[in-house]
């Protein structure tokens, strides 16, 4: 057999992104899992439940009546010191919104997968990043994966990032509904003992562990305009912002350590692909990036000086890394899989414009929106992005967003 050798100690499996996420969670040895099924996350919920039933994961599985309860029971478990996992998306995430908001400010290092799904209406059940993008401003760390292998690896890394004492924040590991959730590939499953070594001794909630012998009130009424309220509230908000900024460093360190231990490097914040001599760039997020790289390779063959910048970490936004990656280009075409309704562009495009504001010279930023509600973003779509961005690099004016699937 013409073997492609896996890293020593790891095992080759063939799985989709939902199973990869379940394996990532299993290897991280959670104490409690709560999930409520929703398309396209359902097979993940089934897989992780099966792992618990089969004894592959020694965790308690909470069957609750909906996503609001899912995250609420995990908050209780996490406050008591448990390592926790869940997964949701779309309308499930919408129903989870109230406890989702509460989690970061409680500084609970919960890890969840968002199997990203477009928002309704129109009624749809397919992929798109509108759900995760809608909750980008709640204080969770958000990382978007490109490949199935990256889903598996990132779920494990997420625990190390979330539980780091300089961070102490929940992490959503986002993988695209449909193309990653159901796309099956060859993947490597790391050995349990090596993951145990990587994660170290479990110390999940050292700062506010619930203990019957040491009763305390958690999250009492805080704020207002008098007494200690204003300054106390600021302390919490400021601390959360500091944790987010620390996360930029910790995410990078954890990805580097993963690479050393497991031989697979995933760019932690921003990946620059063929950017060294690029005159203009395409920017991507998530599973579309592979087709984007293929299109860049083809354009390079035609003599185009184009590169690709992929954002993995969207929260905290790696503004400096984005500005550095794009420092030498004259134009960038940003492809979003979601819509910023208020800005008539995609959210990644909008934030890239913001990150480039401090740049000493003007960089033209064009918005492309594609892959909504399960639509595909192919090499051909990227050919158009590259062509249009080259026009911008030559000074063509930018109008509203280009909708990549408008004529499909």
């Amino acid at each position: 057999m013409a073997a492609i050798m896996p890293e020593p100690g790891s095992k080759v499996i063939v799985c989709d992104g939902n199973e990869a996420a379940a394996w990532g969670a299993a290897l991280s040895r959670p104490d409690m899992v709560a999930v409520y099924p929703i398309t396209p996350q359902s097979s993940l919920a089934e897989k992780i439940s099966q792992f618990i039933a089969d004894g592959i994961i020694d965790a308690e599985l909470m069957d609750v009546e909906g996503e609001h309860s899912v995250l609420s029971v995990l908050q209780g478990a996490c406050l008591a010191g448990a390592r926790t996992y869940t997964a949701s998306c779309g309308q499930g995430l919408a129903f989870m919104f109230e406890p989702y908001w509460r989690t970061p400010a409680l500084r609970l290092p919960i890890v969840m997968s968002i199997v990203t799904r477009d928002g309704i209406s129109p009624q749809c059940v397919w992929g798109g990043q509108q759900d995760a993008m809608t909750v980008r401003e709640t204080g969770w760390i958000h990382m978007y994966c490109e490949t199935v292998q990256e889903v598996l690896d990132t779920v494990v890394m997420a625990y190390k990032i979330a539980e780091h004492h300089d961070v102490m924040l929940p992490v959503s590991v986002c993988h695209d509904g449909n193309y990653l959730s159901f796309g099956s590939v060859r993947a490597e499953l790391p050995h349990q003992t090596e993951v145990d070594d990587f994660l170290g001794e479990k110390n999940v909630n050292w700062h506010v562990a619930l203990d019957p012998d040491r009763p305390m009130a958690v999250d009492p009424l805080t704020g207002g305009a008098s007494g200690p309220g204003p300054s106390l509230f600021v302390r919490y908000r400021k601390g959360l912002c500091e944790g987010m900024q620390n996360a930029l460093r910790v995410i990078t360190e954890v990805h580097e350590e993963w690479s050393r231990r497991f031989g697979r490097y995933h760019a932690p914040l921003v990946e620059s692909y063929r950017m060294d001599d690029a005159g203009y760039a395409v920017m991507t997020i998530g599973s579309m990036s592979g087709a984007g790289k293929d299109a860049v390779d083809a354009a390079r063959e035609r003599g185009e000086k184009v590169g690709l910048v992929k954002v993995k970490t969207f929260r905290p936004f790696p503004a400096q890394a984005v500005a550095d990656a794009l420092a030498r280009v004259t134009a960038v075409g940003v492809v979003d899989r979601s819509v910023s309704f208020g800005w008539n562009s995609g959210p990644l495009c909008q934030e890239t414009r913001c990150a480039l504001y401090s740049s000493p010279r003007h960089i033209s930023v064009a918005s492309f929106i594609g892959g909504l509600a399960g639509a595909d973003i192919t090499v051909k779509h990227f050919d158009r992005v590259i062509r249009d961005t080259a026009e911008r690099a030559r000074g063509a004016p930018i109008s509203g967003p280009a909708w990549l699937n408008e004529s499909d």
Binding site: M1, A3, D16, G183, V185, A291, D376
Partner: protein
């Protein structure tokens, strides 16, 4: 699920694979599609396929409602379940090879239901040579089939392989 088994078999033979099913409100009897790429090198594009080299059609009636040949590349291969002989099929000029297997009859015999998936994996192996019957057998053994279901599917695979007629077509002008 057939896509997953084929992917697993190809990986056993050292290939890189991306298998993407179509998605929506799948229900038994409705037309569905799945897309699979394999290569010696890692595959980056996580997209559907619009210009297939091979079409594996596991239902004899689906071509009445879906143009299964849309985007077909030249010198393509069709692996089709049918009880009809080659002469009775309306085939596009792009095809260079056709593998025909009466998978419905085989499935009715083995499963008492027209579930043609594993039969047609055997047919695919025979008609394309992309993957060995042995690797497919191992992948079926490692899948979620158990007991009687497993032995039935192994038999279906074997019979699909053995009972597929492969026709090489002469090169024709493509309109």
């Amino acid at each position: 699920m057939a896509g997953g088994i084929l992917a697993a078999a190809l990986v056993k033979e050292g290939k890189h694979v991306v298998a993407i099913p179509s998605f929506g409100f799948e229900r038994r009897g409705a037309p569905v599609a799945a897309f699979l790429r394999f290569d010696e090198r890692p595959i980056r594009a996580m997209t559907n396929i619009y210009e297939p080299d091979v079409i594996l059609c596991i239902d004899p009636t689906v071509s009445r409602t879906v143009d299964v040949f849309a985007g077909m590349r030249r010198a393509g291969v069709l692996v089709q379940t049918t009880h009809l002989p080659l002469e009775r099929l309306a085939l596009p000029d792009e095809l260079a090879r056709v593998g025909l297997c009466d998978a419905v009859a085989i499935a009715l015999k083995i499963f008492k239901r027209p579930i043609t998936n594993t039969v047609m994996l055997g047919a695919y192996s025979r008609a394309t040579g992309h993957v060995s019957l042995e690797a497919l057998r191992e992948a079926v053994e490692e899948s979620e089939f158990r007991d009687a279901g497993l032995s039935q599917n192994l038999e279906a695979l074997q019979r699909g392989y053995e009972e597929t007629r492969v026709h090489e077509l002469p090169e024709r002008e493509v309109a």
